[in-house]
Amino acid sequence: MTNPIDAGGAAAVSTMPASAPLRVRRTNPIKEILRPLGQLLIFVLGSSIVMALITVALALILRPTRDDMDMLQITLILLPQVLIDGLVLGFMYATIALGYTMVYGVLEFINFAHGEIFMFGAFAGVELLLWIERTNGLDVGNLAAYGLIIVAIIVGMVISGLLAITTERLAYRPLRGAPRLIPLISAIGVSFFLQDMMRFMQSAINGDFYRTFPDFGPFGKRITLFSMPLDDRTIDIAIQVKSLIIIIVAIIMLVGLNYLVNATRLGKAIRSVAQDQRTSSLMGINVNRIIALTFLIGGALGGAAGVLFAFKFTRADPYMGFLPGLKAFTAAVLGGIGNITGAMLGGIVLGLLESFAAAYLSIFTNGAMGAEYKDILAFAILILILVFRPSGLLGSKTTQKA
């Protein structure tokens, strides 16, 4: 019912002059790559600046409330690091959010199990590296270490992608056409099942179910960007090598996906299946294959994100997917679910918000509120944004037409 066929639904219309010459624009591949890059840059800069300004303004306003510290000074000193951390987190959310958005976009269905697919990816990567470590393969040079990380990411993508199409095949496809709550519940079932499945496998094989990302290569190294004096010491503003890798990989995937969906024939098929499966099949599109592919792509992205997550935050456990999954879903909604650019923006905004909330809430409220409120803040802002933009930041406005 969200796609009213009767002249319904509506998006901002860009009308052409009535007698526009027929000029069918072919998609320009370079443009399709540069445009999302530009958008990303704008998102990153834009949301960073907005967040920073709000924070500084708050610091100025609240400055008189604390005499034990100079709030403005502290705020400014923390700012660059908080921004960097927030962005890294944001890119991670964005990559996970893409999986939700892809599947949602095509089936209008919240794949609740995406968090677990993400988790399987993380385990795949970690297990691979641990296995290599056991064969003493991790004592390698820097270059090979990078190679290993990439291999781990790819393995994560493959496993998660395969898992995603398997779940689609077994748990969702039989439900196609049922009311929307039905596959949602099935997805919740898959999510529970996969969590315990992994725990079972891990505790049967390894005895315990946490896995720690092996420590190797130059990834833990911190690249100091600049230093700032605070009282009698200096604070280094630094970014870890692995954070850089995460950002780069995330950007490659975001841009790649954007290209795939907007500039290829496959993308076109995906978008049309998203609109109307029956009619798509009348266009000669193999709907089942496209849906499976969508899951594959979304799952692979989730798997990559899983490996990156374990890489950055050093561990994998069977329950790790739940919260990031939830956050990423929130991010997808924030940006306008079903909208790839929206997912990126939503991820970045959410990452920044969380990072800022965790770092500053305690300072600003003199300890009355602290990092524990970061999720609330994220949700509160989400509600606020949705109240004013009911379809998310970049979602198309759906005013129903009668």
């Binding site: 796609n3 009213p4 066929i5 009767d6 002249a7 319904g8 639904g9 509506a10 998006a11 219309v13 860009s14 009308t15 052409m16 009535a18 007698s19 526009a20 027929l22 069918v24 072919r26 024939r265 076109k268 098929a269 978008r271 049309s272 998203a274 609109q275 109307d276 029956r278 009619t279 798509s280 099949s281 009348l282 266009m283 000669g284 599109i285 193999n286 709907v287 089942n288 198309s396 037409k401």
Partner: protein
């Protein structure tokens, strides 16, 4: 309702050419509802065949069964002698059957242009695509005006044009049209039947047409079948049926 066509069909035009599409004792169900109760019909190459019948007779169901959207529980759909009854819809499209469904099935979130391009999804040749687009736009200038508008926001009639235009983009060898004139202004209704006629004449497209506007349909078609509650009750040359009193009483509203 007098749609006068420039040409009235010669009854013997291509009446018994080569058999292209054949339905043999088709039974189709919606759950427990037995919608088609043994339909058999033939469409020859280069023919326009029309299906008429009252509401709920099973006309749309017949088309859906041919294009694979529904599977018959019994019977065969043969295209060029090959049974297509269990072939998925996309393969049927690949085999050359195009279906403009009832209710239009416009992609609401894609622009008019993208909708049209989807019609030619199987086509990989760009210049041919451009050519077909130009053709459609020249038939429906309204669509050109609305090229960048989302399909879902079009008016009812515009959506109908879009659906037909998209069907034309496919350039199928057999085109299934389900009530193409529904919701169109009189001027356009006339235009639609002209298009059907030209399509058949100039490009040799075989057409299976379902219409409530039975008179116009019978005027444009070579042969016709009358459907009544899931069964074929009459068939024959379109011109004969047009003058058959049973038909005119029941379906022409004269």
């Amino acid at each position: 309702m007098g749609i006068t066509l420039q040409t009235t069909r010669k009854v013997d035009a291509q009446g018994d050419g080569q058999l292209l599409l054949e339905l043999d004792n088709i039974h189709t169900y919606y759950g427990k509802i037995h919608a088609l109760k043994g339909i058999s019909l033939k469409v020859n190459k280069g023919e326009i065949v029309t299906l008429i019948g009252s509401n709920g007779a099973g006309k749309s169901t017949t088309l859906r069964t041919i294009s694979g959207l529904l599977r018959p529980r019994e019977g065969e759909v043969r295209l060029d002698g090959k049974n297509m009854a269990n072939v998925p819809p996309h393969s049927i499209v690949e085999a050359g059957i195009g279906h403009v469904p009832e209710g239009r099935g416009v992609f609401p979130g894609l622009t008019v242009l993208e909708n049209l391009e989807m019609g030619a999804y199987l086509l990989r040749n760009h210049s041919e695509l451009e050519r077909r687009l130009e053709n459609v736009f020249s038939l429906f200038p309204r669509l050109l005006e609305r090229m960048q508008q989302k399909g879902g926001t079009l008016s009812g009639g515009e959506q109908q044009m879009l659906a037909i235009g998209r069907g034309l983009m496919q350039q199928p060898s057999v085109l299934l049209l389900d009530e193409p004139s529904m919701g169109l202004a009189p001027l356009l209704v006339e235009e639609i039947f002209n298009i059907i006629d030209r399509l058949n004449k100039e490009q040799g497209t075989t057409i299976l047409l379902v219409e409530q506007n039975a008179q116009a349909a019978l005027q444009v078609a070579h042969r016709a079948y009358v459907l009544e509650v899931g069964q074929i009750s009459m068939s024959g040359l379109a011109a004969d049926l047009l003058h058959d009193p049973r038909v005119s009483e029941a379906y022409l509203g004269l």
